[in-house]
Symmetry: C2
Subunit: 330 residues, 2 copies
């Protein structure tokens, strides 16, 4: 013990003896409660004159289903998890929407799982609104919600737990191809029971609660100025990615071109069970990754580990994430 | 534009016309100011029954000196930066102290650059106190400051800008070998002019302001229960790393066994100009990295990108960082 500390302890012990009802304020060697709370999950960077805020919706850890990768054995998947220093027989899927402030528009790309997911996931997923608040972003100030595709972890956050619009003043922009497919009664009637039928029902539930008031957008056009929609179908029929461009800076927002990178960036030939057209999804994946490698374009990945921004490099038969280092200043 | 938005815009336009002095509260398509402020730089994880909070002191970007790596050409260093998708001719060095709550002790390992560095680095370095506050950690509650070695980015944060103790109630624990070397007047008198002499002077300045009240600690012993000091000399004569252990969980706190991983983890044979004994530093580096690879022990690296926690894998003649994915829950 150093002299300062010894003196303080003695002084504090004396004070405590003299006035026993006043708790000692000297904390040395006292037990300090754990904070037990993670830091808020947001991260900012500039892209030209735009400001991008990655705002995580959290992550969900699930048992590794035997068919999580439909064309690889569970042992192979576990080996890939081990190579990434991850636990076997489990899969943790993060979710990271981004808010883009273009100056004229305050847009969010994808809406996450919704706060209703918090209870069911024990706080893991559904964190978007809390993290928006931590980032100082009022959901009422968001004037565009851009949806990449109609899976529950992207659209359910359009609603509050009591089924009101979570972004009360926002235009809801959806891929035209996605809108046509999921809102088509014929497609719904032909959907296999189980997951596909459930997705149709969930999408009707969400968009009916919004009065189906959406703005469908087309590929190869700007959804809002500076954010161009790019066709990356396969994961779903209308699955969309984006190029955000400001000045000479660009970032590729890949949406679900891959799910968890430790599996699907490393093994682009693996087919996740939730890819609607897995062969097309793989073609899209290889095309997109070959392009971003050549262009050295940073990629924002919805299912990459937060803050979900990385460069890609080719590595053997697959690719590898090189995360952009966290910058403590903007 | 969807119907809700159009109605809102019309309503808001009408209100504005009727009462022109009241600003419209409808934010749709209105310009929203950039937040222009990074998220607080802290990150928490459990290690057995311990809680560890990585609290970054920020980062500093410097022009790449010709002699930054004394045994590699600047072109080779620039090639390594390019391979890591970093800008050439610059080097960004992050600083990440960690706070360890063992239950009985609240310890911080290394003190960062000190708040006085904020002005000179334009807010890049010297963020520790602000990030401790964001993490809800009162510096007065910290009862042990464990110093790994006596370089300015590790010891200057022991003092406030007005040269008072920054951790008023903490025992200051220093490596015995480091204390002997830097406080030895003979060693100081033999120090080469320039950087080494400046380091001696800086260390006298810092520890004299603290009345030289420190607790020297020895290698291969617990500095505080659960944190064992490990000899990793070379970077300095008394340079120290740590194994933190709780239950069956361990993390290796490497201090400056490597500086920026994109250069020195990838190229363990490269000698940074600030290594006091570069040959010994390289031997230490290879020994430590071979060990953590075999043991699969996660490494907390003071100069790794925040949150500075990674696994290591062997890759060709060097090693590669596999960052531990950010967990949105503890």
């Amino acid at each position: 013990m150093n002299d300062v500390t010894r003196r303080s302890v003695l002084a504090s012990a004396g004070a405590a003896a003299a006035l026993a009802t006043v708790p000692s304020t000297h904390p040395s060697h006292a037990s300090v409660p754990h904070a037990a709370k993670q830091a808020p999950g947001f991260y900012r960077y500039k892209l030209g004159s735009f400001e991008i805020t990655v705002v995580t919706d959290g992550a969900r850890t699930l048992p590794l289903a035997d068919t999580f990768v439909i064309n690889a054995k569970k042992d192979e998947v576990n080996a890939a998890l081990a190579a990434a220093f991850m636990e076997r027989d489990k899969i943790t899927i993060p979710y990271s929407p981004i808010v883009v402030n273009t100056g004229s528009r305050l847009a969010i790309i994808d809406a996450g799982n919704g706060e209703a997911a918090l209870a069911q996931s024990k706080g893991g997923a559904g964190q978007l609104q809390a993290n928006l608040a931590a980032a100082g972003i009022d959901p009422k100030a968001i004037n565009a919600v851009i949806i990449s595709h109609f899976h529950a972890d992207h659209v359910n956050g359009l609603l509050t737990p009591d089924n009101k619009p979570a972004f009360a003043n926002a235009e809801i922009l959806v891929p035209a191809a996605e809108w046509r497919f999921w809102m088509d009664d014929g497609e719904m009637s032909r959907a296999p029971k189980g997951r596909m039928e459930d997705l149709f029902k969930n999408n009707r539930r969400v968009f009916d609660a919004l009065g189906r008031k959406v703005t469908p957008y087309e590929w190869n056009k700007e959804v809002v100025p500076g954010i161009t929609a790019v066709e990356t179908a396969g994961h779903t029929v209308g699955h969309t990615s984006y190029v955000i461009a400001s000045g000479s800076s660009r970032v590729y927002v890949q949406s679900d071109v891959t799910n968890v990178p430790a599996l699907f960036v490393r093994n682009p030939g693996w087919h996740a069970f939730f890819d609607q057209d897995p062969v097309k999804a793989e073609q899209t994946r290889r095309k997109v990754y070959d392009m971003v490698v050549v262009e050295k374009m940073p990629v924002q990945g919805f299912h990459y580990p937060f803050p979900s921004l990385a460069h890609l490099e080719k590595d053997g038969s697959g690719y590898r994430l090189v995360p952009v280092p966290w910058s403590p200043v903007i």
